[in-house]
């Protein structure tokens, strides 16, 4: 007989599985979207970590905060300079809190996902791509609200020869629409691929080290490589959150100033 228990292989995708921890049930309304799942648990953890970073570190509002607050000031300066450089003009401060929120959320979620046996929030393409589509929609609405029909001049690069205009408009429109997906896909697939790579390589090395004493000793070589990949994943987590913000800022600049 085919026995499922004996042939069960742990899939590398298991780590992204959403499980219900606490369920709300009502015979009148469907409350399943408010269930406490692994995803919602980790959103709450991200919120708590960010709250702690900004409330417990202020040293009772003294001029010099604790060392943790200095790290937050460094992040503040980095993102502020980036937004100022990208958007510029008088109104960059209007968009700064939003971009800072994106950065902190993705940054903390990516770093939390690097804890072994935890959960990667930003690898869930459903949420991340919805977020990027909403940013794209908001940008488009902002551009149309500010410039009216002139907004569509964004699709014609300046200095284009007239015969090339129809072709370029099609290409530019396509690339503008593709931004809605590509922003989220870039982050989601990077985190997803990184976590899959780590678990697959670590699983292989673990099985390899279990064979005999020689492989146990020799297995430290691939283990060192996995360590290097883990460091790379930390870097990817931080860089991708910055890339998300820089792209959001440059898309905002396109919508606000049209080139």
């Amino acid at each position: 007989m085919f026995n499922l228990l004996n042939t069960y292989i742990t899939s590398p995708l298991d780590q992204f599985e959403i499980r219900t921890l606490l369920g709300l049930q009502s015979s009148f309304i469907d409350l399943s979207c408010l269930n406490l799942t692994t995803f919602s648990l980790y959103t709450i953890i991200v919120l708590l970590v960010i709250l702690c970073l900004y409330t417990l570190t202020t040293n009772n509002n003294k001029i010099i905060g604790s060392r943790w607050l200095i790290s937050q000031e460094a992040i503040y300066d980095t993102i502020m300079n980036m937004v100022k450089g990208q958007i510029g003009g008088k109104n960059w401060g209007l968009y700064f809190p939003m971009i800072f929120t994106f950065f902190m959320f993705i940054f903390v979620a990516n770093l939390i996902s690097m804890i072994p046996y935890s959960f990667a929030l930003s690898a869930h393409l459903v949420f991340i791509i919805s977020l990027s589509i909403i940013i794209w929609l908001g940008n488009t609405i902002l551009g149309l609200y500010k410039h009216g029909w002139t907004f569509f001049s964004l699709f014609v690069p300046t200095g284009t020869p007239l015969p090339l205009v129809p072709l370029l408009v099609i290409i530019e429109t396509l690339s503008y629409i593709a931004r809605s997906i590509s922003l989220g896909l870039r982050l989601g697939s990077n985190i997803l691929a990184g976590h899959l790579l780590m678990i697959i390589l670590a699983g292989l090395t673990f099985n390899f080290m279990l064979i005999n004493l020689f492989t146990l000793v020799f297995g430290f070589v691939p283990l060192a490589m996995i360590l290097a990949i883990m460091i790379l994943e930390f870097a990817i987590g931080i860089i991708q959150s910055y890339v998300w913000c820089i792209l959001t800022a440059s898309y905002l600049k396109d919508a606000v100033y049209l080139h």
């Binding site: 995708l13 992204f16 599985e17 959403i18 499980r19 399943s32 979207c33 408010l34 269930n35 799942t37 995803f39 919602s40 959103t43 709450i44 991200v46 919120l47 960010i50 709250l51 900004y54 202020t58 509002n61 001029i63 905060g65 937050q72 000031e73 503040y76 700064f96 809190p97 939003m98 800072f100 929120t101 902190m104 959320f105 929030l121 869930h124 459903v126 949420f127 919805s130 977020l131």
Partner: protein, 48 residues
């Protein structure tokens, strides 16, 4: 892949966007002005 069941889509979107809205309010109302006040007070002490 159970994460592709539509029930979880709604759960993810509800909690994800609730988190984003909460964070946006917290940052724009409390945390970023707090850092700005800190910078301004340092500026007043040292340069003005």
């Amino acid at each position: 892949m159970p994460q592709l069941v539509p029930f979880y889509f709604m759960n993810q979107l509800t909690f994800g966007f609730l988190l984003m809205i909460t964070l946006l309010i917290l940052f724009s109302q409390f945390f970023l002005p707090m850092i700005l006040r800190l910078y301004v007070s340092r500026l007043f002490i040292s340069k003005l």
